[in-house]
């Protein structure tokens, strides 16, 4: 037994070492940093570094900008995740349909946005969203609607970013959901049809319950990804207008690398971690209470 244990430690050792050095240690250092007031004065002279306990956290919680960043991020997650997953599910259902032709082509085409570079396509979307010359506003005008100042109007900037992010990311979840759909035993549909279930009943009573575990997985992945909103507003709006697209990660970036307040930046990171942790925990409860699992 001890021999086995030794062998296990030796085999797992390198991996554990890598995890310790590249994960545990930086996280611990980040946590320690978040309890200090590391700023450019401390960068100049380490003796001016102060241990401030939870003051960074307390101050952040009193900063309107923090709450604005959190609200913007929640807005993005609450609207963006269902939109993105809904789009993925719709695309996956279409691909899985018996009537789908050219399936490999569409699978690739719909997946293509995922493998593009965020920055490059964000620049293209900025053209699409341009108030006067953009394709989207030309389309709106063609059907008689007034043009929208997508990236300049604080009410429309976040919807524009959400549309972009949903378009950019839905292909990834689509592939996972498509695989799950293909795994649904065909004879269940057969049986349901025999019992007189229509297309809607077959979806709600056969497809959906069997998809729930996959949807939860996809949901958790998407939620934790969407909480880390940064590149899209950084490229498209620089957090504006009126900070309407200023996210938690944007706040962290500015605190850390623009103002060099690494203590504050680490505190933002840990608060964001807590938020994602709670959101994922909530979603896992969904899975446990899901009708498919009893």
């Amino acid at each position: 037994m001890t021999k086995d244990a030794a062998a296990a430690w030796i085999l797992a050792g390198p991996a554990l070492l890598v995890i310790a050095v590249f994960f545990a240690l930086p996280v611990a250092a980040g946590l320690a940093l978040s309890l200090t007031d590391f700023d450019i004065y401390a960068l100049a002279d380490l003796s001016t570094l102060r241990f401030v306990g939870l003051r960074n956290y307390a101050q952040l919680l009193q900063t309107p900008l923090f709450w604005q960043a959190l609200a913007n991020t929640l807005y993005f997650v609450v609207v963006g995740v269902p939109a993105s997953i809904g789009l993925s599910l719709a695309a996956a259902l279409l691909l899985d349909s018996r009537f789908a032709r050219w399936q490999p082509f569409f699978r690739t085409a719909l997946f293509a946005p995922v493998v593009t570079t965020v920055v490059a396509v964000a620049v293209i979307w900025r053209y699409l969203l341009h108030t006067r010359y953009g394709l989207i506003n030309q389309g709106l005008e063609a059907i008689g609607l007034a043009p929208v100042d997508w990236l300049g109007d604080p009410h429309w900037s976040m919807p524009a970013i959400i549309a972009f992010a949903a378009w950019k990311n839905f292909g990834y979840n689509m592939i996972i959901l498509f695989a799950a759909l293909q795994a649904v035993p065909r004879d269940l549909y057969e049986a349901a049809r025999m019992d007189g279930a229509g297309a809607v009943r077959r979806f709600t009573d056969v497809t959906f319950p069997l998809l729930v575990p996959t949807l939860v997985l996809v949901g958790i992945l998407t939620v934790s990804g969407y909480f880390q909103l940064f590149a899209e507003p950084y490229v498209m709006t620089q957090g504006g207008p009126l900070r309407s697209t200023y996210s938690m990660l944007y706040l962290m970036y500015e605190e850390g690398f623009r103002w060099w307040n690494l203590g504050n930046a680490s505190a933002v990171a840990f608060l964001l971690f807590l938020v994602i942790f709670c959101a994922s925990g909530l979603m896992l409860r969904f899975d446990r209470d899901a009708p498919g699992r009893r």
């Binding site: 960068l43 100049a44 001016t48 504006g240 623009r258």
Partner: protein, 440 residues
Amino acid sequence: MSGAGAPAAGRGRRKAIRRIGWGSAALAGSLAGCGRSRSDPEGPLDFWAMGREAEVVVELLAAFRERYPGVQVRVQQLPWTAAHEKLLTAFAGDALPDLCQLGNTWLPEFSALGALEPLDERMAAAGLPRDDYFAGILDTNLMPAADGAAQLLGVPWYVDTRLLFFRSDLLRAAGHARPPENWDEWRAAMQDIRRLDNGRTYGALLPLNEPDPLFALSLQQGPVLGDGDSRGAFSQPPFRRALDFYAGLFRDDLAPRMAATQVANVWDEFARGLFAFYVTGPWNIGEFRRRLPAERQGDWATAPLPGPDGPGVSTAGGSSLVVFKSSRRKEAAWKLIRFLSEPEMMQRFHALTGDLPPRRSAWRAPALAGDPPSQAFARQLERVRAAPKVPEWERIFQEMQLAAERVVQGRQGAEAACRELDARVDALLEKRRWLRGLRA
């Protein structure tokens, strides 16, 4: 291999071994390369510059090489958006270049880091006359040392300030023969312009995401920080007067509530007459000439910024050249700064970039002395004032504009916005107060 047999093979092997030896030596050399060339006092000079200036300075360096054949210069271009982070990271990693172009609002930060070499003695020894520089611009490079005396930490390279660009035809049509010189005249001119042609034209464009115009107005009134630059003074009368004037222009519909991003093309809108006054900087002289249609070229002019009672001060911006303390080639770095500071070099630099020179003697060039739009800048540069010299300034600057934006959008009263701004600024400057207590 040509020959056969043992000796030849032996020679070949020795050669191979030698080659490996050289190879590893070269590898070791290149690994140590950064360190060695950085510490070598005779090595090439590392010069970091930003944006367009970095592209253009290379053209000036040919003449420098002729004069100082012994000094090699390596110019590295940094994009403005990444420069600040890159410089701080380089400081943290002890990888700063020998000399650098530094936006003069960044000087306090690098001065607080103790990264900059004082240049007073070199300046005096080189015979660079301090009083040839615009005083307000030179002042942005003077930082208080530990003993309280001011140290020169940078040499101004080019300058930037804000003043009025305006539609002279609209101003005349509204019955004003000359540009306004004080706030009352300016406001009256805007009101008269607003009445032209069914109110098609706004008085001024003051983009809501640009803090510079409001800050220039507040510089005219007095300081925005108090208690030795350790607390906000935004609720004090000087800033309040500036904010009231600024916000009043929006309240009275003399300026549109627009951010720069909402104006698709400023030059088009200016040519079409969406607004008559635009508070902006020297780069727009070139842009106006390039982008306004030919038939509008006679209809625009520049004028110094009006003050509360007569021509007022404006912001003192621009870039300086600095030498880092960590450099082992300070003498060579200084040679390059002195070379770039010669009036002829500044004139060539202006011809290439449109950047305005900080030395009055460089302004004697016909391209500047005979150019009316530039001459307004020459007059304004005699009246510029440095921003507070604290590392937190850029942040305070933005907080100021966010507060002003809330007032302009009617979401907060001026009184409450200024009090909240002061509280924010006091929190930002807490460490300064603590450090001051530590030193006392």
